[in-house]
Amino acid sequence: MTSDLKSEIMTDSKKLSFDSSKIQDDFPILETKINGHRLVYLDNAASSQKPEAVINALDNFYKTTNSNIHRGLHTLAEKATNAYEHCREHVAKFIGGVSCEEIIFTSGTTESTNLVANSWGNENIGEGDEILITEMEHHANLVPWVLLAQKKNALLRQIPITTDGTLDLTDINKLINEKTKLLAVTHMSNVLGTINPIKELIELAHKNGALTLIDGAQAVPHMPVDVKDLNADFYCFSSHKMLGPTGVGVLYGKKEILEKMPPYILGGEMIREVSFEKVTFNDLPHKFEAGTPNIADVVAFDTALTYLENIGMENIRNHEIEISKYAIEKLTEIEGITIQGPLDETIRGAAISFTDRDVHPHDISTFLDSRGIAIRAGHHCAQPLMKVLKTVATARASFYIYNDRADVDYLAETVKEMRRYFRG
């Protein structure tokens, strides 16, 4: 398989809901050569690439605006503060028009879930209480609850999954009950691609008096999300998976809940007054943002949001439905390859895990890389799910706005080549 194939089948890409090949031009890294081939980046569920606009926003911030924020009275400090707070407003709008006080910047989804576990969880989970998660959680939305349950003598329960990789809701009315204090569920699985019926689950949880935390790390980058409509109590996601810089995450929380929570990280900016004996805390959202925040990256994240809005989240979702459908079609055609997760593209995202009857995912990944294709292989920080799937690892190709049908074709052809290589 040579890269010529790529250009040959490029024409197909016009069928998609927007022109990915034009979008590719905005992403400088896509011009990189990997082992002599053009980079075909299909590791977007791990982290997305960044458009030039976002990279330039960083550059511009450091060249014109850089300063510490909030407490400064000089021009740069004020400009930097405004730019930082502007992103908060933007995030608040982006996820459905919530209040700025409800948006807390963290270092990533992982810190967001940990903040809730340590602050809210530590105060509100007691002996005999139940925390309900699913079998498909990422470690970020799993390990904090495993350890909190251990510490508090609470019970951690899981919603099982069916063989097609969706949640098995048969026993949901037992799983969510009056003991349930928190339902912590992923919006979209990073392994199976499954989009979960979050809104219904949240409603059911609320009926039982439980709060809800949604891990939106894989959802917010790929589809319109309205946390108000979902009525989620907490919602978490990461900038780096949605065209923004690394080191920035978001925790959305309902104001009345956040207000009652004790702070998590302690230091500058999150306190109002402190003596050696006594501390009073600042207002939301600052109460949860101690120390110098990741100012420049938050400012550049703002640009990433704008970039996504210009394309349109609805269009992105449609694009990924199309590309998932095509990829599932192409991959299932290949003898020996099994897709892990739902085959119906309308109930899933474009993170597509597959296994090969004969070849280990690590060998698949290494081989594809030798042909310029970046996919991920392993347990994808979802070890319990691997056990459920009765596998140790999967290969995962995850698509985004700059991927087109040509990428799918090239992937499928290279997978076939890979099988010939290893099976002899």
């Binding site: 082992n35 002599g36 070849v359 280990h360 995912p361 690590h362 060998d363 290494t366 081989f367 030798s370 042909r371 392993g378 347990h379 691997m386 596998t391 140790v392 690892a393 290589y421 290893f422 099976r423 002899g424």
Partner: protein, 159 residues
């Protein structure tokens, strides 16, 4: 093009991967150890029949990538009929080669030298090491009179 790929997956390695040695179960098991590579998910079971401190028979069952399977297969070939002490030394030589601290292997190591190609893929070194570390653990337990200890060796603790 792709020379480093072909260097890692040498024909010999792919051949061991396709037709691994030591797959046949053994009757008398004196040493039994399991090993795994948590970050990759590779898993291995190593069983030995030991007589007078000599490995009379070996059974290796490795579920993992081509590298870990091939490495386990080569191990099975090398250590059969060898005294335990020599096997310990051999394993150390392999470890050094994989870490780049040893270039030339004794003739008797045969195909094993082809594992060198893994060095270009640092994340895969663990895969090649798995069988050897598991074997070493088994021998250690055996020498402590505890050959069937039910503890799983992890490459990440031992590297």
């Amino acid at each position: 093009m792709n020379s480093s790929l072909d260097e890692m997956y040498r024909d010999i390695i792919l051949e061991h991967y396709r037709y691994p040695r030591g797959k046949k179960p053994i009757d008398k098991v004196d040493v039994s150890t399991a090993g795994k590579n948590p970050s990759c998910g590779d898993e291995i079971d190593v069983e030995l029949q030991v007589e007078n401190d000599i490995i009379k028979n070996i059974h290796v069952d490795c579920k993992g990538c081509a590298i870990s399977v091939a490495s386990a297969s080569m191990l099975a070939e090398l250590v059969k009929d060898k005294p335990l002490d020599e096997v310990i030394e051999n394993a150390e030589i392999v470890r050094k080669m994989l870490k780049g601290e040893e270039e030339n292997l004794p003739e008797e190591f045969g195909d094993i030298v082809t594992l060198k190609g893994v060095r270009k893929f640092p994340v895969r070194i663990k895969c090649a090491l798995l069988a050897w570390l598991t074997l070493l653990e088994g021998i250690k337990n055996f020498q402590n009179g505890d050959g069937r200890r039910n503890q799983i060796v992890s490459t990440e603790e031992q590297e």
